[in-house]
Amino acid sequence: MIPFVIDGQPVEGREDGNLLEVALDSGIEISHLCYNESVKPYGACRLCLVEVVRNGRSRMTTACTYPVIEGIEVLTRTEKVLRARRMIIELILAMCPGDKLIQDMARKMGVHEVRFKKEDKDCILCGLCGRVCDEVVGAHAIQFAFRGDRKEMIPPFGGEAMNCIACGACVIVCPVDVIRMEEEGDERTIIRWKRTLKMKQCKICGNYFAPWFQLEKFKEQVKLPKEFFDVCYTCRT
């Protein structure tokens, strides 16, 4: 474990770790949006800015992408960092003025007005849904398309996400809660990806527990007896 300091507090991080994960583990709050410990750090939202002092030189950088290095001093609440974070949240708020989480974050940071023309987007382009779908779930159903301010997270060719297994991981991981999942009767829909799948019933309790499509995909990948895929998690245990 590698020792260094955050806001005067001695901390330790593993060799290939990053500053943000160490801070959060040590109970030090650094605002963040696009970071999630289940996926590789991305560095998109720019909210987790900190100042790092190394070899006498200081630079402002994102904590999630900066490696753990012995002896560095990390400062999470300098004037410069706070000023930068305020502008970043203002820019995100201007993009997505209706997002409650962003509104709350902005208020907490002391940002009360948006000096730019408000757009009406809801997605903050953190990429977490796509990253989780790629790195954790492996369904690769959605990813970013286009670039610049036309960038958006969509299924290939727009339309329905044909590789989506409706597992709901994206729903859980979205920091601004704009991916919704609905269940009605024997159907589950991930609304944002226009994906509706028929659900399979548990042989024991009769509840709809997982989409057929999802179970078929798992069957291809995982060597398990057939019965596993006929019974829901609760009944299996």
Binding site: H140, Q143, F144, A145, P156, F157, M162, N163
Partner: protein
């Protein structure tokens, strides 16, 4: 494009996944756009998920997912051309054709594009139509230049195929 043709392009690059950009460029050069079925076939062959192929196809300006027009009009947006009044030239093309940069006319005759520097700064503002350069363009010359490529007239005067 037939699957055999696609497969032979893939073969040219030894089926390497990292050659996806080059493969897409070869397809774009031949077909003038990237048909959806072609991209899906590519994904299967190279074991690249369609979400990644779509991401790549929409990120780079070299690729078009819609068929291009018969004639490609490229207006140089380089700084030198801009400073010599390039903006008026594009605006005039937009007015004449009713389309903006990146779009194709409904009759599929013209696609209007802008590019950042054709490298012909001395003759700016410059417009390239089907590879033929027109230097010292001005908004007043747009209509007569377009006439050379409008349907009804002999297709272009550049002597190319």
């Amino acid at each position: 494009m037939t699957y055999e043709e696609i497969d032979s392009i893939i073969e040219r690059y030894h089926g390497k996944e990292s050659a996806i950009l080059a493969i897409l460029q070869d397809i774009q050069a031949k077909e003038k756009y990237l048909p959806k079925e072609t991209l899906e076939h590519l994904g299967e062959r190279l074991h690249i998920p369609s979400s990644k192929i779509y991401r790549i196809a929409t990120f780079f300006r070299a690729f078009s997912l819609m068929p291009r027009g018969r004639h490609e009009i490229i207006v140089c947006l380089g700084t030198a051309c801009h400073v010599r009044g390039g903006q008026r030239v594009i605006d005039q093309f937009t007015m004449e054709l009713g389309i903006r940069s990146g779009e194709t006319t409904p009759d599929r005759n013209f696609t209007l594009e802008t590019v950042n520097c054709l490298g012909v700064c001395a003759a700016g503002p410059v417009v390239a139509i089907d590879g033929q350069y027109f230097g010292k363009m001005s908004s007043t010359k747009v209509e007569e230049t377009l006439k050379k490529f409008r349907p009804g007239k002999k297709e272009g005067t550049n002597g190319k195929d």
